[in-house]
């Protein structure tokens, strides 16, 4: 019992916090995949840009909260411009074109950030300080805030896609864009706004996690691998699956650290993914026909 309360439960909380933040990042990735059929390799860089733009806004306004609104909006604009200028001409081409393009965009964004902000690490002060006694340890209030805000955002996104007309239009575009176009909906606009929304979501995750993980040009590369695992595990294109998979990966990583050395934890995460894919080849909630 002491082990459960003193060791396992704190690890579980760490895993939940990490999983929730990972879910935010992976959700944008999975929506873009479902809609455009493109694995967006630049998604990690949009996450990174969110943090850097956030720092720039904080520098001007001295407010993390203003940055939390402004940075996703600004990166969302970058996302919209990227979709219109670069991705749109490739929609009728095989998926490989989009893959290569986004890979190139990732390099461009990363090096642009390095040129503008330099390669040095930057730290963002958490807007909420202090800590709360929790399960025998002192838990930072900002992490609890992160868990709460991530869960609220995930719920809001779910409500958007299931309860609003705009959300239903996006889901319809995911199912059959041509049919939607035939029904008179401006599908190109839907694509642009969805890509912008996905970029904004990545930026929001980047800034929310900045006080925990610090900020540097490579930060997106390192997170995107885990986000890809989440998307594959959850089922390509499945939003609910991504959220579940993000929590599974976050908690598994946190708990396995107790018993395995770090390299083996990384191997175990991949083993978990392989195991799930053997039992459920489409991931937790993957749809028939996606990547088949």
């Amino acid at each position: 019992m002491e082990y459960l309360i003193g060791v396992l439960l704190p690890q579980l909380v760490h895993g939940l916090v990490f999983g929730a933040a990972l879910g935010l990042l992976a959700l944008g990735l999975t929506v873009i995949f479902g809609l455009l059929g493109v694995m967006n390799f630049a998604h990690g860089e949009l996450y990174m840009l969110g943090a850097y733009v956030g720092i720039a806004v904080i520098g001007v306004t001295r407010s993390f909260w203003v940055a939390l609104v402004a940075a996703p909006l600004l990166v969302g604009v970058v996302g919209a411009l990227t979709e219109v200028a670069a991705l749109r001409p490739l929609y009728r081409r095989p998926p490989l074109y989009g893959l290569i393009l986004t890979f190139g965009l990732a390099l461009v964004f990363r090096e642009a950030a390095r040129q503008v902000w330099g390669g040095d690490m930057r730290r963002v002060q958490p807007p909420i300080t202090g800590s709360t006694p929790l399960l025998g340890m002192t838990y930072p209030n900002y992490r609890l805030f992160l868990l709460a805000v991530s869960c609220v955002l995930l719920l809001a996104i779910w409500l958007f896609f299931t309860r609003t007309r705009a959300g239903i239009v996006v889901r319809a575009a995911v199912e059959d864009a041509e049919m939607l176009d035939g029904l008179g909906v401006d599908v190109r606009r839907v694509f642009t706004l969805t890509f912008a929304g996905s970029a904004a979501l990545a930026a929001l995750a980047g800034l929310l996690l900045a006080p925990v993980f610090t900020v540097y040009p490579q930060m997106g590369v390192e997170m995107i691998l885990l986000a890809f695992i989440v998307v594959i595990l959850g089922g390509m294109g499945s939003m609910g699956g991504s959220v579940v998979a993000a929590f599974v990966i976050g908690i598994a990583q946190s708990l396995l650290t107790l018993w395995l050395n770090p390299q083996r934890v990384a191997i175990a995460i991949f083993a978990l993914m392989i195991l799930v894919l053997i039992v459920r080849p489409r991931g937790f909630f993957g749809r028939e026909g996606v990547l088949e």
Binding site: V7, D120, T138, Y139, P140, Q218, T257
Partner: protein
């Protein structure tokens, strides 16, 4: 008319060629700068390049080496052994560098040592600190002025036991450098009667260190010894601070934990952090101040521990001038035992047996974002006996010896 135009054109081209820098200047000798230029150790690689650049510019201003202008070629090794080997071979075989400085990460440096041994090129290490480089991996073309794990542990363990506490938890980055630092520190501390109450390794580039914090808190040490570097250190300190652990435990760590430039951004979590290092721009030592003034004048920023790369170029140039040759086999005997007075910290001498520079170091404590010296440790007290060809970790175990 056409003929005249052709003649004028040819004459102009010849005149332009004759006046071009390539022909107007002397012969060129190339040196290689290999290290992490992006990623977790980016800062170290960047300052290594700057330190070497300063040395190259100073030497070229004096006429170069043996009448040759020095040209530096920089390569990024991606902080990994395999690319480091590829880039080292490119520098040696394609660019024909006569000196190779690098890499930054210990794993990459050890891999590059095989290349420099094979191609007989002078190899200078000024930041990697794994204990194998001057022992089992040692070769005659390898030299170092970076205090390795054993030197740092020897100097730091005693201070920690005397001034900070006897119960220590070792938390390290789980690859060559961190493992080496952890091993050597555990060995040194236990030898002096200290108690290691726990050890844990986190992989390079760990995002969230909090899963390890429970174990540290359970062990309840007096001191937390941290063997991390680069972005890992910054993240770790940010997270330790948010969990209240920077106030709860006394903190100590390795010399390359964070560069001086990183400290102001993380001043509060780092307050009181103790480390052993050879340089700080806040050390009043006149040699350090003189070097730092030149560095700052050239680059507009303070120097840091990567200044050791400057000395690597200077030692090589001095040996080449003395040998009147760039041939590595003629330079090695001259470098062995060589002393230079005007390095970034004053006098440095290369020990003949293992090609390690013997240097006095300082214990530094971080105060308001500055590495402030608190004590001097003699180089002779830290360097330890030469162990060329011997296993420096023979009999070592990570096992925790419980004390009653």
């Amino acid at each position: 008319m056409t003929k005249l135009l052709s003649l004028v054109t040819v004459a102009l081209l010849v005149a332009g060629w004759a006046a071009s820098p390539a022909t107007a200047q002397q012969k060129v000798v190339k040196i290689g700068d290999l290290g992490s230029k992006v990623g977790v150790f980016e800062g170290y690689g960047k300052y290594q390049t700057m330190a070497m650049q300063l040395a190259v510019e100073e030497l070229n201003a004096r006429g170069g080496v043996l009448g040759h202008r020095i040209e530096m070629i920089s390569e990024d090794d991606d902080t990994k052994p395999a690319p480091a080997v590829r880039k080292a071979e490119k520098l040696i075989l394609q660019d024909d560098v006569k000196l190779l400085v690098g890499a930054v990460s210990s794993g990459a440096t050890m891999a590059v040592m095989d290349v420099t041994r094979k191609h007989k090129v002078i190899h200078w290490n000024s930041v990697s600190c794994a204990e194998f480089m001057r022992t089992t991996k040692f070769h005659r073309y390898y030299f170092s002025n970076q205090p390795d794990s054993r030197m740092q542990a020897n100097g730091l363990a005693k201070y920690i036991l005397d001034r900070m506490g006897k119960r220590v938890y070792i938390f390290y980055t789980d690859y060559a450098m961190g493992q080496s630092d952890g091993r050597q520190f555990k060995t040194a501390l236990e030898k002096l009667g200290g108690e290691v109450v726990g050890v844990a390794g986190a992989p390079l580039d760990t995002k969230d260190f909090s899963p390890w914090f429970g174990a540290i808190n359970q062990a309840n040490p007096d001191v937390l010894f941290l063997a991390f570097a680069g972005t890992d250190s910054l993240r770790l300190m940010t997270q330790l601070h948010s969990f209240g652990m920077t106030k709860k435990y006394k903190l100590a760590g390795i010399d390359c934990f964070l560069l001086q430039q990183d400290l102001p951004a993380i001043a509060e979590p780092m307050e009181g952090f103790v480390q052993l290092a050879h340089f700080s721009p806040y050390n009043p030592d006149r040699h350090m101040q003189a070097f730092n003034a030149r560095f700052k004048k050239r680059f507009g920023v303070d120097a840091n521990i990567m200044a050791g790369a400057y000395d690597g170029v200077m030692f090589w140039a001095a040996a080449a001038e003395k040998a009147k040759s760039f041939d590595a086999d003629r330079l090695v005997p001259l470098l062995e035992g060589m002393c230079l007075d005007d390095t970034h910290i004053g006098r440095q001498c290369i020990r003949k047996e293992d090609h390690q520079v013997v240097m006095d170091m300082h214990l530094y404590r971080v105060q308001k974002g500055k590495n402030v010296p608190i004590a001097t440790v003699s180089g002779q007290d830290t360097i330890g006996e030469p162990l060329v060809g011997k296993d420096p970790v023979a009999g070592f175990t990570w096992e925790i010896k419980k004390k009653n």
